[in-house]
Amino acid sequence: MSQGLETFYDVIRRRGVSRRSFLKFCSLTAASLGLGPAAASQMAHAMETKPRIPVIWLHGLECTCCTESFIRSAHPLVSDVLLSMISLDYDDTIMAAAGHQAEAILEETLEAHRGNYILAVEGNPPLAEDGMFCIPGGEPFVNKLKRMASGASAVIAWGSCASWGCVQAAKPNPTQATPIHKVVTDKPVIKVPGCPPIAEVMTGVLTYMLTFDQMPALDRQGRPKMFYSQRIHDKCYRRPHFDAGQFVESWDDDNARKGYCLYKMGCKGPTTYNACSSVQWNDGVSWPIRSGHGCLGCSEEDFWDRGSFYSRLEDIDGFGVEANADEIGMAAAGAVGVGIAAHAAASAVKRVIQKPDSHTRRPHDGSDQA
């Protein structure tokens, strides 16, 4: 399976990709990573000379939408090249081998490439009941994850499940589904959140790591800066309508037809870090906001627990009904206003009852000041 000494280029050529296509792939990828033209030849050189790095792709609690997204990379070239490049030494969803034969590959990679392979994880381990809620190949996923992480050079957390927990970790999270960085604490974990992440983002991150043999620069939350350093809102093509104060006020109004900003419909673009507004989806065919719906914030932590998809801010529980900050604030300010009015009235009464000169009834120095 894993022939450690082959270069990426050898593998690619063996799979029938022409040199021309290979170079095209390098320049495409360099561009999508926002690197300069020089990077394309750097990339080509690296791929021609460096031995291929094995990738193990594990699946925990997940829906496979990340894999689905990945294999639908916009440029068939990219997915072709990448799939052959990483050759996915192990990916239980799309690999040919099955059963014990497949599981044996894990041990083999762990031994042969210890400290050298990349562990990509889709989904997350449930920790409750000793991990018994997810048992692929007869072993709790959490054990498998820890074992495979122990020999990996770096861990990629694919999608919101692996990065944050996503739907299976939503309240009340009965299986105690837990994101990767809380289980694998001794290795760098690269979060590539999204439900699913954009295919080009996934391939971009992998290509960067494989060709430059280093981690991409990460932001404070552990996401690759090249794709996650800006909010949807920062690059949204409807932003001029936001700045102008032109909003969709209801789903079927004229403003919706005109393509105004979806802020008032609860668009979470202003709080969501992802590349949708610049990379877009399906080879730039469209993306959620372009199709007329607000961003759900799918790449943000706990997005299932953050209230309605149609409210921009979180709902605040614990007030009997779920309410938003303005409702609570206005109710509180109203109550305080009523309280002040009542207090003022009582104060006025006190002044009438308590004679203005009453202070002098306890004379101190004969002063008759009130």
Partner: protein, 241 residues
């Protein structure tokens, strides 16, 4: 150890005055100037902040001809700078100004008398005490609110406000370098928005009570209030202790 913010200390200071009807210089000019600049900035911030969160009805015409949200945010951020720089100036003055300039930043939690007088003041506001006491600076209850709500709330608003600003300015910005940690502290961008928003309502409620209490005390207490924050002088209406 007793602090300088209780009525006993106030009486000593009043007694020290040559003539009883003389007034004490409490709020120095920078504090008074700051008070009104800060009040104005907060009002502007609350109004524009509210309309950032709940925008006005949509404008008509081409997007290129309108910039309503843009101006709303621009004014908000400018007022945010005024608020933050003013607050830094106020902290500076706490070091170099008179002792009353320090009051809102320090709670004399070690002072039993101070705690007792908080209870006393609460009773005064609940109509359970007939006559109020005299104070030179803030009364203990006001002091607690100034620190616990105003100072804390303002720091929260400045930190969360600049963290939100940093998101727009970008991760390479100085703002992000200085305030990016706030986003991590709160968890994520949305939490920062939510707390920034809740903070507004907390401060609005503070101001409502503050203004009411200032006017009421001006009438009901034995000392001047509103003229004090205008000209800095505290005078007393009677000479009793």
């Amino acid at each position: 150890m007793s602090s300088q913010y209780t009525s006993q200390e106030a009486l000593k200071e009043v007694d020290a005055l040559a003539a009883k009807q003389q007034s004490i210089y409490v709020y120095e000019a920078p504090v008074r100037l700051w008070h009104w600049v800060n009040a104005l900035a907060m009002t502007v911030l609350a109004v524009t902040g509210y309309f950032i969160a709940e925008p006005l009805p949509s404008t008509a015409g081409e997007a290129s001809e309108n910039y309503l949200m843009g101006w709303m945010r621009y004014i908000h951020f400018s007022a945010g700078y005024v608020l933050a720089i003013g607050f830094l100036g106020r902290i500076y003055w706490a070091f170099v100004g008179n002792k009353h300039a320090r009051q809102i930043f320090v709670l004399p939690v070690w002072d039993k008398d101070w705690w007792k007088e908080i209870v006393f003041e609460a009773k005064w506001y609940l109509f359970l005490e007939r006559d109020p006491k005299k104070y030179v600076g803030h009364n203990p209850l006001a002091h607690l609110a100034m620190f616990g709500v105003f100072v804390t709330g303002t720091i929260l608003m400045i930190l969360t406000g600049f963290a939100l600003y940093a998101e727009g300015a970008g991760q390479d910005s100085l703002h992000y370098a200085l305030f990016g940690w706030v986003i991590v502290l709160f968890g994520d961008s949305m939490q920062v928005h939510t707390w920034h928003h809740i903070g507004m309502w907390v401060l609005i409620i503070f101001v409502m009570i503050h203004v009411y209490a200032a006017i009421r005390e001006d009438i009901m207490s034995r000392q001047t209030m509103i003229s004090t924050i205008v000209n800095g002088l505290r005078s007393y209406k009677d000479d009793r202790p």
